[in-house]
């Protein structure tokens, strides 16, 4: 570093000068950009600031868990988009983890047929761009027959406009609240299992407490659905085709399930590889010791291999979850109103580009930090003393 700058002074002074120059150049860059932006926006007659968030939007979004109308203000739309993203993320992550576990186990087992199937799966889904897969599934979903010629599968109707499932008739807000109750119950259960505070409690007590909170979540959800259901409607309505319209039942839009399917299948290929790496990282001695103690194959797997492998996988699963959350932004390519698409739409309609981009960044930062903090917490809660096992990279 000394030879790099031929300025006079001691090494310390030169270093200080270098940093000062760098930082002021950075500041000048940011300031210049801000001034240019202000000038341009003023020329377009836009005032910067977050006042626009209270204005009514006047345009529609095609998928919303929260009830939205065109009279709703921007902040409600943005919140609604965020909820959609979180919902898609929850569906995508849980699906990808479940399918990925299966794929990873298939690839790690001894059975050649299962291994071949697992390998084909991973190589196919991992080596194609995710957006290509999304376009493919969306094209397949929208090329289904039109509502008049819906395919009927066990009471459900499938056509180009979506999948119509039989279900109880409840309002969207109540459905969202119920889902929230179930999620809260599940979150509490995980918290109880992982929290340090309950660590000293007997495992049996901990597990029953967790099961209780899970059940409580479902009970609250069921209670909500019961209390607010319209007594005039039957318990479960079946979708019925009336010409081009379909009434009753629950509609799953093609935008939603194409994106969910893409995230699940693509994510599962990566999760499968993480699971395989985690299983590989379990020391042979542990499994042999378990066998020597006379544990059965299932006991060896569920009590020794899996708990150790899971700890090894956790950091990479954390990265993968963050990655999959970011993948929900692909919704804009098929028209699923996730957070990013709502932000993009708001930019188009309100012109408040910089503010909205700031909100977008803050939103994703918050999601990522929360996920990372959760995973870190889980990692610390589960860590075994004296074992620093990590899979080989």
């Amino acid at each position: 570093m000394a030879r790099l700058l031929s300025f006079p002074g001691t090494r310390r002074q030169r270093e200080l000068a270098l940093q000062a120059v760098f930082l002021s150049a950075l500041a000048a860059l940011v300031l210049g950009a801000a001034l240019t932006a202000r000038e341009r926006l003023a020329a377009q007659g836009l005032t910067s600031g977050f006042g626009f968030l209270r204005k009514a939007t006047g345009w529609e979004i095609n998928f919303a868990l929260l009830p939205t109308t065109t009279a709703d203000p921007y902040w409600w739309y943005l919140l609604s988009g965020l909820v959609n993203t979180l919902f898609m993320g929850a569906v995508g992550l849980s699906g990808a983890f479940a399918l990925g576990l299966l794929v990873g186990l298939m690839r790690s087992g001894r059975n050649p047929a299962a291994r071949l199937l697992g390998t084909l799966y991973v190589e196919l889904f991992r080596n194609l761009p995710i957006i290509l897969q999304l376009f493919f599934w969306y094209a397949v979903a929208t090329a289904l027959p039109n509502p008049r010629q819906s395919i009927e599968i066990g009471g459900a109707l499938v056509n180009a406009r979506g999948i119509y499932l039989p279900g109880p008739e409840i309002g969207r807000g109540i459905a969202a609240l119920s889902a929230l109750a179930i999620l809260a119950g599940a979150g509490l259960a995980v918290g109880i299992l992982a929290a340090r505070r309950f660590r000293r409690a007997a495992p049996l007590r901990r597990q029953s407490l967790a099961a209780l909170s899970l059940a409580a979540g479902f009970a609250v959800a069921a209670g909500l659905a019961l209390a607010f259901r319209d007594p005039a409607t039957p318990w479960i309505t079946h979708p019925r085709a009336e010409g081009l319209r379909i009434t009753g039942g629950w509609r799953i839009q093609p935008e939603f399930y194409a994106l969910a399917l893409t995230i699940i299948t693509y994510g599962a290929a990566y999760v499968g590889e993480i699971v395989r790496g985690g299983l590989k990282a379990v020391p042979r001695g542990q499994i042999e010791a378990a066998a020597a103690l006379g544990l059965t194959a299932w006991q060896r797997f569920s009590r020794v291999t899996m708990p150790l492998a899971f700890r090894a996988m956790l950091p990479m699963l954390a990265n993968q979850s963050v990655w999959l959350m970011k993948a929900t932004t692909l919704g804009i390519a098929v028209g699923f109103s996730d957070f990013f698409m709502v932000v993009a739409g708001s930019i188009n309609h309100s012109g408040q580009t910089l503010e909205l981009i700031g909100i977008l960044m803050a939103g994703f930062l918050a999601i990522n930090l929360t996920l990372a903090a959760l995973m870190n917490r889980l990692d610390r809660a589960l860590s075994l003393e004296g074992s620093s096992m990590r899979p080989r990279r």
């Binding site: 270093e15 932006a37 087992g109 071949l116 194609l128 970011k326 990013f340 910089l354």
Partner: protein, 364 residues
């Protein structure tokens, strides 16, 4: 000899049977797994063969009705639309230039996969020449080539251009960012770290979108330029943030003694970096780097969303127009094969390098 033959043959046959039984059906549960997976495999293979070959239509002159009647894949759509899929809106008569440009990129990638080309100077020379040649062929305007502006670029050459430009711009940026983050001066290390972490926490789509739409707001007029270059810059920045962390990991894996020994020999900062640290860091980070290249290639497909006619978008238009609206599966299968060939080849190459380096480690 005649006496031993039967005694050998019998155990071998039993051995095979036993091995099969041991592998496929050691327990009833394992037999069930074999049965289920085997059925799925056979079903997939049969469906594929039946659709793509047995019931498919191959006659290039066949139209929609003939395909519908046959019931399988409709390959005439590829014969009719392949130039749109591969070259997008590029002027029809000049498409030989686009094809040649793709070959140049393929040659550059193949050349840089050869271990004998691995030197900073050589690699930089190959990539700079390749990019210049590609640009000359695509853009034209010199040596009697008709100029074709960037808005008409499309298909495979555009995908390859975005990939190559991302790598060529992103790699030096990644090295600089990694060095800055490693710096002992907090005034340099902290901003670099913040930038890297901020970019890594954002989705690529939002960065591409920002570059396409927000940058014109904050840049002075002479810097705004073509949308393509802004988007490529965004992709390169994203690539650089990830690659910088990979390089930093490589730096951290170098034994401390290496730098200390270089210092003891009296090498200056630049010599230590160029001769001692960077080559080792790159060697250690090679598998992860190849992986990052694979990801960068797949992520070029995202530029569809900000309105470019890359391979994926031109495939979309190939079946959205005219009589081929039903043939989306065939068109997607065609471009999926192109993406797959590239990505699978590169990732196999990465695995080969990793094995080669492991072998080298064990020998020393």
């Amino acid at each position: 000899m005649t006496q031993t033959t039967p005694t050998r043959a019998v155990p071998r046959r039993r051995g095979l049977w036993r091995r099969l039984r041991h592998d496929y059906a050691a327990t009833p549960a394992a037999a069930l797994v074999t049965l289920v997976c085997g059925t799925i495999l056979v079903a997939i293979a049969w469906t594929l063969i039946d659709w793509a070959i047995l019931r498919a239509t191959f006659d290039p002159a066949a139209g929609r009705e003939a395909c519908r009647a046959a019931g399988g894949a409709c390959w005439p759509v590829i014969a009719a639309r392949w130039r749109v899929i591969l070259f997008g809106l590029y002027p029809y008569d000049e498409q030989w230039r686009a094809a040649l440009a793709c070959l140049v990129v393929a040659a550059v990638i193949l050349l840089s996969c050869l271990p004998r080309m691995w030197g900073l100077g050589r690699l930089a020379a190959i990539w700079a020449t390749g990019t210049a040649l590609f640009y000359l062929l695509m853009r034209g305007g010199l040596f009697g080539l008709t100029p074709v502006n960037e808005q008409q670029w499309g298909g495979l050459p555009l995908t390859l251009f975005v990939f190559v430009a991302t790598a060529v711009i992103g790699m030096p940026m990644a090295i600089v960012l990694a060095l800055m983050r490693r710096s002992s001066l907090p005034g340099i290390a902290i901003p670099a770290g913040l930038l890297i972490d901020a970019i890594r926490s954002l989705p690529l789509l939002s960065i591409l979108f920002t570059c396409a739409i927000v940058l014109p707001l904050v840049l002075p007029d002479f810097l705004i330029g073509e949308k393509l270059y802004r988007v490529v810059f965004g992709a390169a920045l994203f690539f650089a943030a990830y690659q910088a962390e990979i390089i930093r990991g490589g730096f951290q894996a170098i034994p401390r003694g290496q730098e200390e020994a270089a210092k003891a020999l009296g090498l200056g900062w630049r010599q230590r970096l160029v001769r001692i640290l960077l080559p080792q860091a790159f060697r250690l980070a090679l598998p992860a780097t190849i992986n990052q290249f694979v990801i960068a290639f797949m992520e070029t497909a995202l530029i569809v969303v900000v309105g470019f006619m890359d391979l994926l978008a031109s495939a979309n238009t190939a079946f959205r127009t005219g009589e081929w609206t039903f043939a989306h599966v065939e068109v997607y299968a065609f471009i999926a094969a192109i993406y797959f060939a590239f990505v699978f080849g590169l990732s196999r190459y990465g695995a080969f390098l990793e094995a080669r380096m492991d072998a080298g480690q064990q020998r020393s």
